[in-house]
């Protein structure tokens, strides 16, 4: 939204009664008054490593010890009660607080030490094992929240309280859009087969909060109309629409001049972008130009719109089109019950496409300036929710530690950061809070998280909030 004031059609140079200069100035002032960042370079004070972010958000709480933090020690501890000394004082959710014992459940599947770092990755994730040399696994993430709503809100907006702006909206506000055909922040939603339906997600997770609403994420759906209201009404052709927009522009132009109204000039631009989106979105979602080999890389579900696999491929296509912030929300990771049945399904949905995305970005040279983040809102308990060994048992929520991975944009590849104790319960080395993740993400984009502020109700709001946040410099290459 910070493109220079240009009209690609129907240039109105010289037609304005008060002169182009006046209106152009007005337009910029109006932009500022609307709360658009007047110049994104104000916020970019660090040499950027990433031009864009792909956040593969795994909603529900992926089980860290089952996926990335398995340990040999757990074989021995399996079935023993989680010692009070480890659990001490830790609150647990209302779902297991009444449990009489807390038996340790070892990872439900074996794993391997992978890549240069030797990070343990579950055999449930064979494709992720393959890209171990390209990713950085952080095993020491932590959050205060232990229930979905506050946790997922914190992970995506930097606060457990309602009303804050999402990370994508912050990036859109801070850096604006790099392209003229798509919004700066696009969101893709899928539901896994692990648990269907899983916990709800909310538009606040990609919302603009107190930031102006043009920074909210725009959903790219999988139905007939990927962007809401994209299609012309039945019985109206693209040519017809073009002609209508030309007439509309002429009428609007006249009004803008007569009434000295810069907003109308801006509106003509927005109508033109809407028209371009009507072509650019179908072109984006049309996978016919993708090679069979590429489609195969992402797996069979890539051909089905709305699956995680299809969304991963679309994420790459959005990255190619310079969309600034691309976020997938994939539901189904909340394995309270039947973890031995649900988790393998959930992994099968996501493992190959996630890895394929990293491989695909890498071979196209896009990984260098794209930051990929894979992770959810918290981890899960080492102890079994429900009777150990029963098919219905699972794991409860756990915020004291969990695992994510990042790739690209100069993040150390084949690296592992942070450690947890024998019970995968407490962090023993290099804790990383969610706000540190946000700070690191912004740093990669060239933004000092302390400087990306928006004054709202007398306070300088920040994505990273009021508590101190730090960039995880150890993982930066």
């Amino acid at each position: 939204m910070n493109a220079p004031l240009l009209l690609d059609r129907r240039a109105f140079l010289g037609r304005s009664a008060c002169g182009l200069g006046g209106i152009a100035l007005q337009s910029l002032l109006a932009q500022a008054a609307r709360g658009e960042s007047p110049n994104p370079e104000l916020f970019r004070t660090i040499a950027p490593k990433a031009k864009r972010v792909i956040f593969l958000f795994q909603s529900g709480g992926p089980s860290h010890m089952d996926l990335f933090d398995g340990k040999d020690s757990l074989d021995k501890l399996h079935g023993t009660n989680l010692p009070d000394s480890v659990r001490s004082g830790q609150r647990v959710t209302g779902m297991t607080s009444g449990q009489s014992s807390f038996p340790v459940l070892k990872p439900i599947a074996p794993g391997k030490r992978c890549g240069p770092s030797g990070v343990w990755i579950s055999d449930l994730l064979p494709w992720t094992q393959k890209i171990a040399g390209d990713i950085c696994v952080i095993r020491s993430m932590h959050t205060e929240a232990i229930n979905h709503d506050p946790a997922i809100t914190l992970a995506n907006t930097g606060s457990m309280q309602l009303g804050h702006a999402s990370a994508g909206a912050w990036v859109s506000y801070g850096l604006g859009s790099e392209n003229e055909n798509f919004p700066a922040y696009m969101v893709l939603i899928s539901q896994g087969t692990g648990k269907n339906p899983d916990q709800p997600i909310f538009s606040r997770l990609w919302g603009s909060g107190y930031l102006p609403s043009q920074h909210q994420g725009v959903i790219l759906g999988a139905g007939r109309e990927p962007v809401l209201y994209l299609d012309n009404p039945n019985g109206v052709t693209r040519n017809q629409r073009r002609a209508t927009l030309d007439d509309l522009a002429a009428l609007n132009q006249r009004y803008a001049t007569e009434a000295a109204d810069p907003e109308t000039i801006a509106r003509i631009r927005q109508y033109e972008m809407a028209f371009r989106m009507q072509a650019s979105v179908p072109e984006l979602t049309d996978l016919s130009a993708e090679s069979a080999e590429t489609l195969e890389l992402y797996g069979p579900e890539v051909r089905k719109p709305g699956t995680y696999a299809a969304n991963c491929l679309l994420a790459r296509r959005l990255a190619e089109r310079d969309v600034r912030f691309i976020q997938l929300f994939h539901r189904g990771w909340d394995q309270h019950i039947a973890i031995t049945r649900q988790l393998p399904n959930q992994c099968r949905d996501t493992d190959q496409p996630s890895a394929a995305l990293v491989m695909d970005l890498k071979r196209r040279g896009l990984l260098d300036d794209t930051l990929v983040i894979w992770g959810g809102e918290f981890g899960r308990t080492i102890y079994s929710q429900g009777t150990l060994g029963s098919a219905s048992s699972g794991r409860d929520h756990h915020g004291r530690c969990f695992s994510i991975w990042m790739a690209g944009a100069g993040i150390k590849a084949g690296y592992v950061h942070g450690e947890t104790d024998d019970f995968c319960w407490n962090i023993t080395k290099n804790p990383v809070h969610l706000r540190d993740l946000h700070a690191t993400m912004l740093e990669r984009l060239g933004i000092d998280h302390n400087r990306l502020v928006y004054t709202f109700r007398g306070l300088d709001q920040k994505l990273t909030g009021v508590e101190p946040a730090k960039v995880v410099t150890e993982i930066l290459g």
Binding site: P197, P200, G223, Q270, K304, G458
Partner: protein, 1021 residues
């Protein structure tokens, strides 16, 4: 940021003012470490209080020595050359520029006189500045303009003025007739008469309510997590009526904060107290009770303090406020006012309000409307009862034709389930048997996703049949329900099917197979097979209760599916009715050929099969009754009847609404360390912030919300009236006199016209908090009536119009944009108040993000309304917090999760897509066109009328040319493509006039759509 032309800084001669010149610098750069927050204070130094600053911090040296900058440590430190010593420290990312340093130095030299924060001191009515202007507002504005060497812009022309004031007061544009009348009225008070007419319109309350709903975070769902439905519209009705009745603001405030505590509280006063129940609440399992309760009360503190006092108290939940004099103790004393309510931590599930709630009448219901609705209802019922021999015959014919081919070439292929999943409960209870059928041990709310492989040989598949079988677990019956009438039965709420090339365990909500025909082997009265079509949890198909033999439902797809390209079929069987109303054993069949079942009840099927000629009168009657009750031809009339029945119940019955009360054993309030519910500290009793006027505590009881309301409405309260007056100003000028309408704290920018704000606030209280009088004085002022068109000089000089040398202009709000389209097209249905409605919304986004199938909560799927509910004013649109109405969110409507004051007015491509393509707007264009075509026969007259209806002004010749050209083009287009015309005209559910030429109608529809997309039409000029 571009700085506004705010109160001019002091000239070289004038003495500096602490509030105007100094506090902003200190507050921005110093107070976060040397301010009110005891916790975050560095070096024991406090710079926000004169005595402390003069005394200095731990160094022992005075920070400020009045008159002696050279002896003031503050100056030394801000000018220090060492990065380790300079203030503010570099790592704070704050920096003073040279001007700011000079100002601080000069202020100290001038005596370093502190002033109290303007907004915390009671306003005193200033003298009116001298001048010609009759109105006080204009005196103050003119005075300032004069000082700036500026003057008022000329008054806007009458059409513009009427458009402005009509949109501002009622939310809708004026009609051409209203503009004519105003333009022809030569009386000196012509404009005042218009204002009085508009203030008296019931639309006034509807429009004024919108901003209040944002502020009060009104919504129709619970907000957190599963976000189930709630019923709170009675409170909205109360707000509309309060505005229309011009309830004095002190009463308005008191009833909302403490209506339940008023002596002899009336039902409506209790309803008003629902203000403090609009907060989001949760029914997410596993959440921690104390945490939720703290969240609820914290939201009440946040909302109350922001809305009524313009204070961001929320900051003090975790620590003393960084800038404003509000301590954490102040916060929890304020918190204690709202902590006495008897609400529960997890509540509001299943579409039942969270406690406490009452049943009450709508304050907007009138006997007159009830009588009209009764008459309309009778007429509609009579219409439906009217014999429709042609319609009936056509229906009978098609039903017979359908039955005559039923069962033709049917071949059923039992499928083996390869996967069967359920989101919750013991996974072992759902099992695939050796024969491929699925058994379930016990009942639940459940979405069972079952995947089967289709037979590769034998050709396309027409549909599927789900057969339900009795089991021992279900006592020889078909299901597990326990309630009366459905014992050991189940209700299939929805069935959804998709096919795929790979084994998809989940049904694909983006590619659901449309269902052409649904039949069943039999059903419990009221639970026919067609009822699985919508996703409403409370209806669906149920086999006859008590059945001990298999029953089945059969779905024929719109078009056959090819099992070779899509070998996997996944179907989701949704049992959402009430806990346990789910089946024990089922088997899925695919079929080729025609379903042999009937979509009609057995008796009707028998009559239909019997033949047309020899029906008895009774049979004929039954057939007719069934036709009326189910045929597509009668759907519109049935929707009308259902809507009228509901409306009558709204007008005559009692309905649930959440209210405040006082718990029998109110919770004790503690100061929570760092705001954590798990760290309760000292217990506190209710009280108000120490920096504001004192509220005396009675000796014999604790303070309560009524005391709080009385305190807020004290005549000398520094904030209440100012904040309200400023918010009213905001509504008419696009921004407040104090620019941050929800924050009057120390950090807030100073008002552009402080004296005017104070004058209005005091005058408002003197006039008994009369909001309509305040509004009247604003909109009749010269300031308001100025033209918004400004020359380049003025635009440069005062780009954001802080000085008010021109009229205000801004984009219409989301509601107004939709309402205007409905209004000018004649589609708008104006009913005052009532439950929220669900007009068009694309697809079912709710279902894609919700807990549908795993929860008894309502509002997990979107079920569109019909008939008049599609055309109500937008403030009645159902507000789901986790996914607010998309076509309004795109136009900056907030999600109503938290208090929101003032909306932004962005300008985005998605907005263009809404007004160009949303069926709501396309249908409006079609109805608009229809109205034009009926009213006149001349193109020119129609174009002129149409243009004026959307812009409120006549079209210029140049504009007429463009419109005429567009019309010709569209005409050519649709004359050459009648099919395109027909499909455009099919948009929307309201009937198109069949007597109009479709090509002509379509061409005008396009033209009207263009007019509804004029930038000017979105502009309140």
């Amino acid at each position: 940021m571009i700085l506004a032309a705010l109160p001019a800084l002091a000239s070289a001669e004038e003495k500096l003012s602490y509030n105007r010149d100094i506090r902003p610098i200190l507050s921005k750069n110093c107070f976060s470490c040397h301010g009110p927050d005891e916790h975050g204070r560095e070096a024991e130094l406090r710079l926000d209080i004169a005595e402390d600053a003069y005394l200095g911090g731990e160094s022992g040296d005075p920070s400020i020595v009045p008159g002696k900058p050279e002896e003031s440590l503050l100056i030394k430190r801000i000018r220090h050359s060492s990065p380790r010593r300079v203030m503010p420290p570099p790592e704070s990312h704050r920096q003073l520029n040279e001007d700011e340093k000079n100002l601080l130095e000069r202020w100290i030299r001038e005596g370093a006189e502190y002033e109290g924060h303007w907004a915390f001191e009671a306003p005193v009515k200033p003298e009116l500045p001298p001048g010609e202007e009759a109105q006080a507002i204009d005196r103050f504005v003119a005075d300032r303009l004069k000082k700036e060497g500026l003057q008022f812009s000329p008054e806007a022309d009458r059409a513009t003025l009427l458009r402005r004031v009509t949109l501002d007061l009622t939310g809708l544009p004026p009609t051409p007739a209203e503009i004519d009348a105003f333009e022809q009225d030569t009386s000196p008070d012509a404009f005042e008469k218009q204002v009085d007419r508009l203030l008296a319109s019931p639309r006034f309350g509807e429009h004024q309510a919108v901003a209040w709903l944002d502020a009060a975070r009104y919504a129709d769902t619970n907000g957190y997590s599963i976000d189930g439905g709630r019923h709170q519209w009675l409170w909205r009705d109360w707000v509309i009526k309060a505005f229309n009745d011009n309830k004095p603001y002190d009463v308005f405030l008191t009833e909302q904060l403490a209506g339940d505590l008023l002596p002899g509280a009336t039902e409506q006063q209790q309803v008003a107290s629902g203000f403090n129940r609009n907060n989001a609440n949760t029914h997410e399992g596993g959440t921690i009770a104390e945490e939720n309760l703290v969240n609820y009360v914290a939201d009440r503190v946040k909302t109350t303090s922001e809305v009524f006092m313009g204070l961001t108290m929320a900051c003090a939940q975790c620590h003393d406020h960084k800038f404003d004099p509000i301590s954490i103790r102040d916060y929890y004393r304020f918190f204690a006012f709202f902590n006495t309510v008897g609400d529960a931590s997890h509540d509001g599930d299943g579409g039942i309000n969270s406690k406490p709630f009452i049943h009450a009448r709508s304050c907007l219901s009138t006997d007159e409307e009830a009588a009209t609705v009764r008459a309309d209802l009778e007429a509609a019922r009579a219409d439906l009862a009217k014999p429709d021999p042609a319609g009936l015959a056509a229906w009978v014919q098609s039903a017979r034709a359908d039955l005559s081919t039923a069962g033709k070439d049917l071949s059923l292929i039992p499928l083996k389930a390869e996967s069967a999943t359920s989101p919750n409960g013991d996974p072992e209870r759902i099992k695939i048997q050796g024969d491929g059928s699925v058994t379930i041990d016990h009942g639940d709310y459940a979405a069972y996703n079952v995947m089967c492989r289709l037979p590769q040989e034998g050709g396309p598949i027409r549909g599927l049949r789900v057969e339900f079988l009795p089991t021992e677990k279900s006592k020889g019956k078909l299901g597990f329900h326990g309630a009366k009438g459905l014992e050991q039965n189940f209700v299939l709420s929805t069935i959804t099917t998709s096919v795929s090339s790979f084994p998809a365990l989940n049904v694909d909500l983006n590619a659901m197979l449309p269902m052409a025909r649904i039949s069943a082997s039999g059903w419990q009265n009221g639970y026919g097979p067609e009822r699985v079509r919508d996703t409403t949890p409370t209806n669906g198909w149920a086999p006859p209760t008590g059945a001990t033999t298999p029953h089945f439902i059969t779905v024929t797809f719109d078009s056959p599916i090819d099992p070779v390209t899509t070998p996997y079929l996944t179907t989701e069987l949704m049992f959402n009715y009430q806990r346990g109303a789910s089946p024990a054993h089922f088997r899925i069949h695919a079929f080729r050929g025609n379903d042999d079942g009937s979509p009609h009840p057995a008796e009707i099927t028998a009559i239909l099969r019997e033949g047309a000629d020899n029906l008895t009168a009774e049979q004929q009657q039954k057939l007719e009754a069934h036709f009326r009750a189910t045929a597509p031809a009668t759907a519109a009339l049935r929707h009308r009847i259902a809507n009228l029945e509901e409306r009558l119940s709204v007008l005559t019955g009692k309905h649930p609404v959440m209210v405040m009360n006082t718990a029998e054993k109110p919770r004790l309030t503690h100061i929570l360390d760092r705001g954590l519910y798990s760290s309760p500290g000292e217990a506190v009793t209710p009280g108000t912030p120490l920096s504001l006027p004192a509220l005396e505590e009675p000796g014999d009881r604790e303070l309560n919300r009524l005391d709080l309301a009385r305190w807020l409405t004290r005549k000398d309260h520094p904030l209440t009236a100012r904040v309200h007056v400023n918010r009213v100003w905001l509504a008419f000028f696009g921004k407040g006199l104090a620019p941050s309408a929800a924050d009057f704290g120390v950090q807030s920018p100073l008002p552009s016209h402080p004296e005017l704000l104070d004058w209005l606030a005091v005058d408002f209280v003197e006039k008994n908090w009369d909001t309509k009088a305040l509004i009247r004085s604003i909109v009749t002022s010269r300031t308001y009536r100025q033209s918004a068109v400004a020359g380049e000089d003025l635009l440069k000089r005062d780009p954001s119009n802080d000085l008010l040398a021109r009229g205000p202009r801004f984009r219409l709000a989301a509601e107004q944009i939709r309402d205007q389209a409905l209004f000018v097209s004649g589609l708008l249905v104006e009913r005052l108040g009532g439950p929220s409605v669900k007009p068009y919304q694309p697809g079912d986004l709710w279902r894609q993000i919700s807990h549908y199938g795993s929860s008894p909560a309502t509002s997990q799927t979107f079920v569109q309304d019909h008939g008049e509910k599609l055309y109500r004013r937008s403030l009645y649109t159902y507000w789901k917090r986790t996914l607010p109405p998309v076509n309004m969110a795109i136009f900056d409507a907030p999600n109503r999760e938290v208090c929101s004051i003032g909306r932004s007015a962005t300008n985005t491509p998605l907005q263009a897509l809404v007004t160009l393509n949303d069926p709501q707007f396309v249908e409006a264009a079609r109805a608009f066109a229809q109205d034009l075509l009926r009213k006149s026969t001349e193109d020119e007259a129609r174009l002129k009328d149409a243009f004026r209806r959307v812009t409120s002004r006549p079209a210029a010749a140049e504009e007429m040319q463009i419109l005429q050209r567009a019309l010709t083009r569209e005409r050519d287009r649709y004359r050459s493509d009648p099919a395109a015309a027909a499909s455009l005209l099919a948009t929307g559910e309201s009937p198109a006039d069949p007597t109009l030429d479709p090509a002509e109608h379509a061409a005008w529809t396009q033209l009207c759509s263009m007019l509804l997309n004029l930038s000017e039409s979105f502009t309140r000029p």
